[in-house]
Symmetry: C2
Subunit: 249 residues, 2 copies
């Protein structure tokens, strides 16, 4: 929705940060597509992944109605952010309009998304290689953040974009850098989850990395630690994580 009633607030860094965290820490979303036969919108639940450029990622079966719909019309919308206790409307949530882009099986993009998706959704291993399953990348075009009553913001799609770092020291190497981190500093996951993401102690592990932040998982819980800026090297990654590994005083 692009018109701007008076209830929309000026988007600031806090709103942008919340919007990004809502999208990047969502295990699942409500996905709306246009039914190609009836032209009704149709909304269903899908697991969510992310790509290193900030795209949202879904894994869908060609047999499902939403897949046939987004093959016919690439315009989709997703709703991220789940209510906790109390009034459902008091909890922040994010609507993102996206263009869906199919990912060819066997392509480098497919391999990257497969690794990232399994790290975040281990049970997807059971069906991820079925021949009817494929990934779509959902490229954010615009978004609407509702941070609770009277706290509405509009954001352009670019606010979710993670630009590649040009030297090749980081971009394209995210999986390798993550594996290195997991094997050398696994204890950092627990420290960051507790100290920076406000989580309780658990079996926290890193499950995704990009220039803008890192994803942590513990059973059903998924959290995102956004670095606050885009990093460009392994040295910077370790420096940023070292500085975040102690609880905020």
């Amino acid at each position: 929705m692009t018109d701007k009633p008076s209830v929309i607030r000026e988007t600031d860094d806090e709103a942008r940060g919340l919007a990004r965290r809502l999208l990047r820490s969502a295990r699942y979303v409500a996905l709306a597509v246009i039914d190609p036969q009836t032209h009704f919108p149709s909304v269903s639940r899908v697991l969510l992944g992310t790509d290193t450029d900030g795209a949202a990622v879904i894994l869908v079966s060609a047999l499902s109605a939403h897949t046939r719909a987004l093959e016919a019309d690439q315009r989709v919308s997703l709703l991220a952010g789940e209510p906790g206790k109390g009034d459902p409307l008091a909890h922040p949530r994010l609507t993102v309009q996206c263009l869906a882009e199919p990912v060819e099986r066997g392509s480098p993009a497919h391999d990257r998304l497969r690794s990232r998706f399994i790290a975040r959704h281990p049970k997807a291993k059971l069906y991820i290689d079925f021949p009817d399953f494929r990934f779509f990348r959902l490229l954010p075009q615009s978004a609407s953040l509702n941070g609770g009553f009277g706290r509405a913001y509009l954001l352009p799609g670019e606010d979710f974009r993670i630009m590649p770092e040009p030297t090749g020291n980081f971009s394209g190497r995210e999986l390798e850098l993550l594996q290195d981190l997991v094997s050398t500093k696994p204890e950092l996951a627990q420290q960051i989850a507790i100290g920076r993401c406000g989580q309780k102690p658990g079996k926290w592990a890193f499950c995704g990395l990009d220039r803008a932040g890192i994803d942590l998982i513990a059973g059903d819980l998924l959290v995102r630690y956004d670095f606050g800026h885009h990093i460009g090297s392994q040295a910077e990654l370790y420096s940023v994580l070292a500085n975040t590994a102690y609880p905020i005083p």
Copy 2:
């Protein structure tokens, strides 16, 4: 989605019962509309109510984007059924395509919906009478139930319809019958919540009644007890509830 791939199962009474419970016990849903400017689908979170004829009910502000969208195109979709622990896709959920029908403020329908909505969402009292808020009735046209992996069903909109009882002994008197029940047999709410709906003891109270069932609320929890058939009188209501007031052996 009306085409029927081979993964769709034959709809039986169990599937119909589950679909109705998912819709009628939803405190909130993801609501998808068509953005009148971009023609993207757009999905947001709304509180859900129900009407005595089985329509879903939403209360929306004229200032919100989804309201402007459904004024321009009455075709909407909603997703009901929230995941619990574990794999989000293992939990049943329901997609319903509906036609949205505005409800005039001050009409008998508005008064009925206002009472039912407040009983289910007490905090809505804070804004329900703001001049920009209004109800829309969402009339189910078709639905898709996903009961977990490999358990997909299609249902026509009529499966959600509660037909009026012609003599006037029940239909049109639901609020009065409910108030009578609440004042004479409040303890039945707790007994039905525990014995028939599998809930833990709590401050259970009745919050909605129609010919097909009764809604119970305790804080954040909302459950639906479907009678299994459409009742037609106060005597039948008390008889049905008396028979359900003891735990299933």
